[in-house]
Amino acid sequence: MSGTAAPLPLRRSPLDGFHRAHGAHMVPFAGWEMPLYVTGILEEHRAVRGAVGLFDVSHMGILTVRGERAADLLARRTTIDAHRIRPGQGKYGFWLDSDGHIFDDLLVTRIDDGARGPPGFLVVPNAGRADRIEALLRMHRVGSTEVLRHNGRMAILALQGPGAKELLERRYGWPVGELKFYTARWYGRPAVAGAAGRLGLEFPDPSGTGILVSRTGYTGETGYELLVGADRATEVAEELLRAGAVLCGLGARDTLRLEKGYLLSGSEFHLDRTPLEAGQERFVEFDHPFVGREALIAQRTASGYPRLVGLRVLEPGAIPRHGTPILDGETVVGTATSGGLSPTLGYGIALAYVPEPLRTPGTELAVLLRDRRVPARVVALPFLPAHPS
């Protein structure tokens, strides 16, 4: 029922003591000990959908890559053409192997202001892949490109939900409404006020008060990710809770992302699936050279590769899980990569790779739950559409 003990000592977030003081249920996750929930997964899930939740995601890799050739390095290694990222802009994409299989998904944000010094990028891969990605970036860097790892010295707080913007504006007076989706800037840097204070390579902020705020997240709600120095992380987290945020764990993060059809490293991919199979072609910038590009082009021109689809289980209380077999008639055609009860929709949902002809929404399939066949239907992703705005 519970996980087995990890053989290596688990890494701890700068917010570890904060979590324990708030009574979090801690679990091992990707080499870290992180909160699974604080009050309960469902309550935390609803807080994010209806109000505002606060997550500690300091286990994510926190890397910077800077130098005149930094964009060359990132563009070559990822599906993102880093040369075309504007200062303050972030892009989501993939790190592939030469066969086009996804090793990791990551966010690359340009943090220099475009005027002073060389280009610099914040690179945030998954916790379980960060050590390898750091090593590969160092191995492949050219010239004076600098690769730094900031885990331990920095924390990432994700403030997510329809109330996130108002909370930050009210608590800190920051006009975060100005941030477009996938953009970032510093707030609270008195020493470098004005345009020069919005972006800059200094990382972490030398004044000690600056917080890099990025309008990004993994919940499908309006939200912000805050990069803050480790020594201030607990203070900021407590301020956000006092201002009305509900403290959440990784359990709710998982149910929230599944309702939106977002990929989870190790579930939807572990060097076995391409971005095309995962339905993520929009995050592949084909018009630049990158590792895995030729394999993707070959796959794109071939026909009939498997596709990631959403499945809705049609029987109340029947909940598919990671590994649940998917049936077409009597034939097993795949297994669920993620599954669970959608707290918002109230029925079982799953992601699964199925043969191309079965990908069409409306296709009637089944899931095998404890040797029992339960009807399921292919549905369009995301399971939960965006709020009407």
Binding site: M1, S2, G23, I41, G317, I319, R321, L341, P343
Partner: protein
């Protein structure tokens, strides 16, 4: 932080169920440790009253947000009552695992074997062995 609650007035299984004597019958639920590890219970697949159960065999399935778990019978016997409140309020298993979150009652054909006392169970849940 205090650890999960263990009640003195009942016995326990190595599968993290509690067993309380209620006259000639046994009342069964899951422990505070079990509910905390399972996370929010969202569906309790209650057995039918009158169903025969076998010691060590699954009687029902609990579905939580994170996972699925069996609840096993502590003895051979017959189910005589189920907590039908759990159909609409499965979260009672989380909120009050030793009280309103009870799951079923059974009439055993003989005394249950191999149960742990409260102190033994407290050691078992902390260390994985007695």
């Amino acid at each position: 932080m205090s650890g999960p609650l263990v009640k003195e007035d009942r016995k326990y299984t190595r599968a993290h169920e509690w067993v309380r004597e209620a006259g000639a019958d046994l009342e069964i639920g899951i422990t505070d440790h079990a509910q905390a590890e399972l996370t929010d219970i969202v569906f309790v697949n209650l057995p039918k009253v009158g169903a025969s159960v076998v010691a060590g065999a699954s009687v029902l399935v609990l579905e939580s947000v994170k996972t699925v778990a069996d609840v096993y019978a502590p003895a051979d016997g017959t189910v005589v009552a189920v907590n039908s409140e759990l159909a609409a309020h499965p979260d009672l298993v989380n909120k009050d695992p030793y009280g309103r979150g009870w799951i079923f009652r059974m009439t055993p054909r003989g005394p249950p074997a191999g149960l742990l006392g409260p102190a033994e169970y407290a050691r078992f849940q902390a260390s994985g062995s007695v």
